[in-house]
């Protein structure tokens, strides 16, 4: 397995404007702070729907989505908040959704696992493992027929690579040279099962080879490495060179679902969790930016304040929003 704790180097920031670096930092911080807040709201039973927290994986969504255009499409999974935020989804609408309100991005019908923001290029997320992989392939197919230069991204976990449809999707995308990036967030677990209990050969990126597709394993906790690798893959896709499989090594800090840390259940060790917490993707970026004077302490504070305000506002919005009317249960089965 790829070493996931290499320091962030100046080489990686070459060519990236400072404003973009700030944006990357802000996005990661936003995801982190939103997720910590949600953890808290679940504990306080304000939020009822099952939430799969993204804490620890922020670098992946952020690195990839920063490299995308607004019109590019991203498909997400049950662990959806990070992708939604990184692609530019409104926290207000997401929070209202988690609160089950009619003002939510899915009118309260979807909950955490089904958030959407078509206007920023997130047509939705699925609670079925591997379910959105072929959808992203289809979007890429649409882009290639329309020749509109769009790129499609499928985010999925290591667990999703156990499903047959993952292979069918890679085969078809490679065959048709579709403009799609397959982003596997390998956080080592599928619910309670470590990858070694599910696959003999854990190197997911190598699976791309059998479809004559480039497959690359990267440090998913180094946001700049993710950004650079994604940028290259996206450029290739946009230029008709076909798909890439990016395996981003990362880790979810909390348990599979909900805010608990999921230690002491015999599923993973305290040491393992601590190692990854030490290797925090956000901390690594922040320390680097501060050290290199790309981020000042005052700028940092300003960003943090801004994010905090946005979150508080979103929660207020959610709490003040009405629940859906009971009659809503029958609406929108069909578009008329």
């Amino acid at each position: 397995m790829k070493q996931c704790s290499n320091p962030i180097t100046m080489e990686l920031v070459k060519g990236i404007p400072t404003t973009v670096l700030w944006k990357i930092y802000m996005t990661m911080l936003k995801i982190r702070m939103v997720e910590e807040k949600i953890a808290d709201l679940i504990t306080r039973k304000e939020i009822i729907c099952p939430c799969h927290l993204y804490i620890g994986q922020e670098a992946v969504a952020t690195g990839v989505c920063t490299a995308l255009e607004n019109n590019d499409y991203v498909f997400s999974t049950h662990r959806s908040h990070g992708h939604y935020i990184a692609k530019g989804g409104s926290i207000k609408l997401m929070m209202a959704e988690l609160y089950g309100r009619v003002t939510g991005c899915s009118r309260g019908r979807g909950g955490s696992m089904h958030i959407t923001s078509p206007l920023v290029g997130l047509p939705g997320s699925s609670a079925i493992v591997a379910g959105t992989i072929p959808l992203a392939v289809g979007t890429a197919l649409a882009f290639s027929i329309k020749k509109n230069g769009g790129v499609s991204v499928a985010f999925f976990g290591d667990g999703a690579t156990d499903e047959g449809v993952f292979y069918e999707s890679l085969n078809f995308a490679a065959l048709k040279k579709l403009p799609i990036i397959f982003i596997c967030e390998n956080n080592l677990y599928s619910t309670h099962m470590h990858i070694s209990a599910r696959q003999l050969n854990g190197n997911i990126y190598k699976k791309a080879q059998i479809f004559k597709m480039p497959g690359i394993q990267i440090d998913g906790n180094n946001v700049l490495e993710v950004f650079q690798a994604a940028s290259e893959a996206i450029e290739d896709a946009r230029n008709g060179k076909g798909p890439t499989l990016l395996e981003c090594m990362t880790y979810r800090w909390r348990g599979h679902v909900g805010p608990n840390w999921d230690i002491d259940k015999g599923l993973r060790s305290k040491e393992e969790v601590e190692w990854w917490v030490d290797n925090c993707p956000l901390k690594r970026l922040e320390e680097f930016l501060l050290k290199e004077n790309i981020l000042s302490e005052s700028k940092k504070k300003q960003i943090s304040k801004q994010v905090n305000e946005e979150i508080e506002e979103a929660i207020e919005f959610a709490k003040e929003s009405p629940f859906p009317d009971k009659s809503e249960v029958l609406n929108d089965v069909f578009k008329s």
Partner: protein, 323 residues
């Protein structure tokens, strides 16, 4: 009017929709093959090229998902399954994804997709190559389901399906492919959700789906000779269902036979029966009878196929049992 076969009508519908709307494309196993889907896709590859007529590896779930994804990006794909039997592989994308999407995301994004499932049975093809799965898809909320029985409806309902903003399951039956009938040259639609009375009558209502509408019409003609005046409804859309038409007819006749060449248990015939006894019980004068497949897989041997697939004579027997 000009006559076309059912297969030609589908072919023309596909061709005209693809000419009319650049966002329409065809994807699925056999769409470029000279035999795989009968002659229904003949000539399309030549006219529209392999970017819009996409033959695929056998990967039913992946390909169906790709069609759903393309629909989410504003296309109007027609994904073809040369046999309904193979669609079990694609159930997750159809049921968990296509069907749920619009509702699950609060009406924010829809799936304008046509899923074409072909019933291909008989000829000793046996259990895995004979299935008619309309009940399963009608059971699942979020899917519209249509089953044309004439060339006119084959084209008109196909066009309606493609133009619909929702996932529509368009089910055609190879036993109907050679049937000829009037088909206008221009683009026209047959509304989804509307059945049609094929024969007016007052003694009994025979409600039929797809190929069974053809058998029902034959049955009605023979019954007429015996003095029984049967009304034949070709329901055409299983979902939404034309309840008004059904109720109107049964109010008049008081008797109902439902003919659906699919499994009986939890099938479409059960649904129609339940709807009628739930809503217009007071008009019923006799038991509601179902003419369906028995609850067994399809057998191979012709001798067994002969008794397995219901025909006009089975409808006649059912009618007589309640007259």
């Amino acid at each position: 009017m000009r006559k076309l076969s059912y297969a030609q009508a589908i072919n023309e519908g596909l061709k005209q929709m693809m000419r009319e709307d650049k966002s329409v494309f065809l994807i699925g196993q056999g769409v470029t093959s000279p035999w795989y889907v009968g002659t229904t896709t003949v000539g399309l590859l030549d006219e529209f090229g392999d970017e819009r007529v996409i033959d695929t590896p056998v990967s039913e779930n992946g390909i169906t998902g790709a069609a759903v994804g393309a629909a989410l990006a504003g296309m109007r794909p027609i994904v073809t399954h040369p046999r309904m039997d193979f669609m079990y592989y694609a159930m997750d994308q159809i049921a968990n994804h296509a069907a749920n999407w619009y509702y699950m995301f609060g009406g924010k994004i829809n799936v304008p997709l046509t899923i074409r499932g072909i019933i291909n049975r008989g000829g000793e093809q046996a259990a895995q190559h004979s299935q008619a799965l309309q009940a399963i898809f009608t059971h699942i909320p979020g899917l519209k389901v249509v089953m044309p029985s004439t060339p006119y409806d084959a084209k008109g309902l196909l066009i309606s399906s493609v133009q619909d903003d929702n996932p529509v399951l368009y089910i055609d039956d190879r036993w109907l492919y050679e049937l000829k009938g009037d088909v206008p040259e221009e683009i026209y639609t047959v509304p989804i959700g509307r059945g049609v009375v094929r024969e007016a009558g007052k003694d009994v209502t025979i409600l039929a789906t797809s190929y069974m509408a053809y058998e029902a019409t034959k049955a009605a003609a023979r019954l007429k000779k015996e003095g029984i005046d049967a009304e034949v409804i070709d329901i055409r859309s299983l979902k939404p269902l034309d309840e008004a038409l059904i109720f109107e007819s049964v109010r008049k006749t008081g008797k109902l036979v439902i003919a659906d060449a699919a499994w009986k248990t939890c099938g479409m015939a059960a649904e129609v029966s339940a709807l009628v006894s739930e809503n217009i019980f007071e008009c019923l004068k006799a038991p509601i009878k179902r003419v369906c497949l028995p609850d067994t897989p399809a057998p191979a041997s012709s001798v067994l196929e002969e008794v397995y697939f219901p025909k006009d004579k089975d409808i006649i027997l059912a009618v007589k049992s309640i007259i």
